[in-house]
Amino acid sequence: MGAADLQYLLWLVGIATCVKVLLVPAYHSTDFEVHRHWLAITHSLPLKEWYSDESSQWTLDYPPFFAFFERFLAIFASWFDPQIVDLVNGQNYAVRSVVLFQRGTVMAADLVLYWGLWEIGSGLSRMRRRILYLVVIFSPGLLIVDHIHFQYNGFLFGILFLSLAAMRDGNDLLGGIYFAALVCFKHLFAIAGPIYFVYILRHYCKGPQKIARFCIMASAVISIVALAFGPFLYHGQMPQLMKRLFPFGRGLCHAYWAPNVWALYSTGDKSATVVMRKLFGVYIDRPKAGLTGGLVGDFTPYAVFPQITPIVSAILVIGSMMPCLVQAWRKPVPNAFIRWVVYTFTCGFMFGWHVHEKASLHMVIPFSVLAVERLEDARAFLFLSVVSTYSLFPLLFESKEYPIKVTLLLLYALVIWLNFSQLFGTSTKDSGDLKAKAASNTELNVQETVKPLIGPVEGAYLGGIMVIEIYGQCFHPLFFGGSFPFVPLMLTSVYCALGMTYYWLDQLHMVLSS
């Protein structure tokens, strides 16, 4: 860790920022207006009304730290252009200077991501550290979700990295505090709560002063949470706040199915309906509100398969986490902690209730830390990052961003393939190389035992993505014209769900065997 590394990190940051600046006029989703409205809410209303305001449909539904963060940004926004923070006149205010300002805040918030990267990179060797910087900073998922679609995920991952770095270095107290703060920024991260709890209980709260240590940790975490929720508790806003944070009533699946187990389950249900009708003549009353109706908040009743309730989903999430929880209980070693966290995020994504496809970032970004350390993880990462980025494609549906997202994905896959194959020496067989290697027999043997970065199964699967994409872009409109617009989307999500399931099983195997 020297000046050269810092220089390298800053260099990458500079290039990434240039790319982000060029993306300013790109499409932005309704999340842009959501965040603008939150600036207005936190700026013009007193604290006690933040979570009860309903002047727009975009009500505040992130935890308090995020609201404080918006309050902080609103100070600059009101200097920049007072109309941004106007609760009524500012609605749907998206002139170019406002877009530039808001995009600028996302870029500035990414500084926390770079800090987190710096901390987590300090435990790695120089080559790996540099590749890690590259892999995270240019992650197409982050670029698409944060800098095109518009969200503030980068700095949250920065906090996650800070927490993971502290945990890995054995500083459990700091790691726990960072994690508590992270959950108070965005409660979706709470899915890693169980593993943090078990690990800290077994690793930190041990030895002769285990009770004292437990009390220290508990008071630290509780004071963070109190800092966040205390003011609202004081104003008696807690029930309202909770209602906003956990809006049950939303369906199992999002309008566009996230590529998880439920996408496969829903497809199974659909096909079972068709099979029943065609083969046995049993007509099953099709429930209203089709699965892909495109409305947020669809409840998705199944026709053939048993209904899934939030409890079932929760049990499955906890159940699938059990292997790593048990391991953390039995042998809490810091080295394995990052893997466990990534695995719990994977479980949350695969079985969670109303999961959004953007949540796949939660497993991809922290997984990159593992990917630069072991060949097996590097292979899984290459696979996962392609699948997860591809599953984000439907977020950008306008034609002007189409070439950009495709190029981003291909370029990223190419660059990390180059870097990983250099790092792990898995150069694909090359005639010139083989001749050179033939001179020494031992090296040739090594060459043969090293697995290539993309195996045959993965290669075939990734090729299938191309087929799906070409079908969705060219053949589907050709065959069906404008009808059945949901079919390509459904194909994408189901196909990606297969890949995600494959990845999850791979990770399960990895956790069990370690």
């Binding site: 500079g14 920022t17 240039c18 600046v21 060029l22 993306l23 370029l411 190419l414 250099q422």
Partner: protein, 585 residues
Amino acid sequence: MRHRHRQIKEEGALPACLTLCGAFLPCLLASLLILLLHEVACASYHRPPSPLFLPRYCSPRLEARIWRMAEEDETTVRHAYKESPSWSWPATTSMQRKFSFGAICGFALLLRMMLSLQPYSGAGVAPKYGDYEAQRHWMEITVHTPVKEWYVNTTNNDLRYWGLDYPPLTAYQSWIHGRIIHALEPAAVALNTSRGHEDARSKFLMRWTVLSSDILVFFPAALAFVSLYYKLAIFEEQAWALSMILLQPALILIDHGHFQFNCISLGLAAGAAAAVVSRHELVACVLYSLSLNHKQMSAYYAPAFFAHLLGRCIQRRSPVFGVVKLGIMVLTTFTICWWPFLSSRHSALQVLNRLAPFERGLYEDYVANFWCGTSMLIKWKQLFSVPVLARLALGATITAALPSMVQQIRAPSARGFLLAMLNSSFAFYFFSFQVHEKSVLLPLLPATLLALEEPGLLQWLVPYAVVSMLPLLRRDDLVLPYFALLALFFLLLKCPRHFEYKIAEDKLIKIFRAPILRNCSLAGAAILHLLYFYVQPPPRYSFLFEAFITSYCFAHFLVLFIYANCKQWYVPGDGQWVSSSKKIN
């Protein structure tokens, strides 16, 4: 205008004298400076005897390193190759290298795509719009009217509204693109009714016509050039050279932001340069003629091509035969390109007439050339009439291009040829008639082609070329990408390396690299930017800061022009180089 011309004639001998002085003073001054710098350059240039085979086209940095290492032993020399990358690039096998080139091209493409999200020139500015509308209008005309009427004023083709004023290849290219757009979105190129047609879909399609031309012409030309000219350089240096050619910000900003098709004519010119340096002279003739037939601005390179090819022919046993062969190639290409317009003398002249817009004046807007750069001191446009200015411009251009031409006729060499391209295009940019600020792209191309051999030149030329277009880009609302791409260029230059190494450079470059000089120059540019963006100019001189910027850039360009001329004179010819290295072996 004619009236004023007569007036000057009547006034007597004084203006005539002024004309003469005006023509010769800058040239005299320039040649004096050139002589001076030449002395400096020659004094600092001394080559140690060669102990081993040296790649003919290796970069000066690598060269210097090898010379130093060669004093020890051969193994370290081989090591030196591995140790002096321009970037540290993760590629060891040939497949990885191929993919690395792919990655560079992919990044260049990504930048172009992101830039195509930005607004274009004249977006929403009725009634004349801008270059985007001009290109769209040409597509409309070429798709819907017969070839004979393309350059003629007819009821369907009003030449006053963005009449076609580029050579036939541009017209054919517009026809092809127009056909494609006509098939996908007929309303965007409908005859007469589509004027000022702007919507998201047609913008996307129009942007893709430029992107695809870039991929089909400029990218292959750049790859061909790097693989031919830098054949013997190490991989990292090749990658560096390629990315300097492809990521040069000015071309990206003009083609994919402002909206033009320079990538085609410049790509053809780069292809011609690749053919010249690899001694495929007939191919070079064809490609250069095509480039000239796409945009007449490619004539800026004509002196270099002419002088170099002539010099090569003279070296042969039968020079006349060589010249005739090349001439036939050029004439054939021209005939094919102009075929539809050669039916009568009149129609050919009609096209030619469209290509030479003398009525548009000495220069347009704010261009960092001699006439505009010195207009604060001498009011050229008010002092002289247009015909006088045209003659003045012609004389000055030829004089300025002459030294590099003479050098190439005497001792043609690959590197000298590229420098001659730079010098002659600079000469045209500075002194010729009707220069546009976008014409700075022409000297930029050879400068980027020389990226490995003249890195100092590149570092100075590219930023100021981009800055010189700032007023234009500000009008197009492209200020944000302007800063982003400029910053990106500086970052790419400053790539942190795994290890630092020092290189022995000749004194001339050292002067340019002197930190105080660089800092002063950068500070000046920064102050100009601040003034331009944040200070209201006095109402009497509402374009004061634009004039400052152009004069400032012109001053830099002038120094670089003189430097490049000096450099060209002490590049040894190919023949001399080979013989000297043979002697030692």
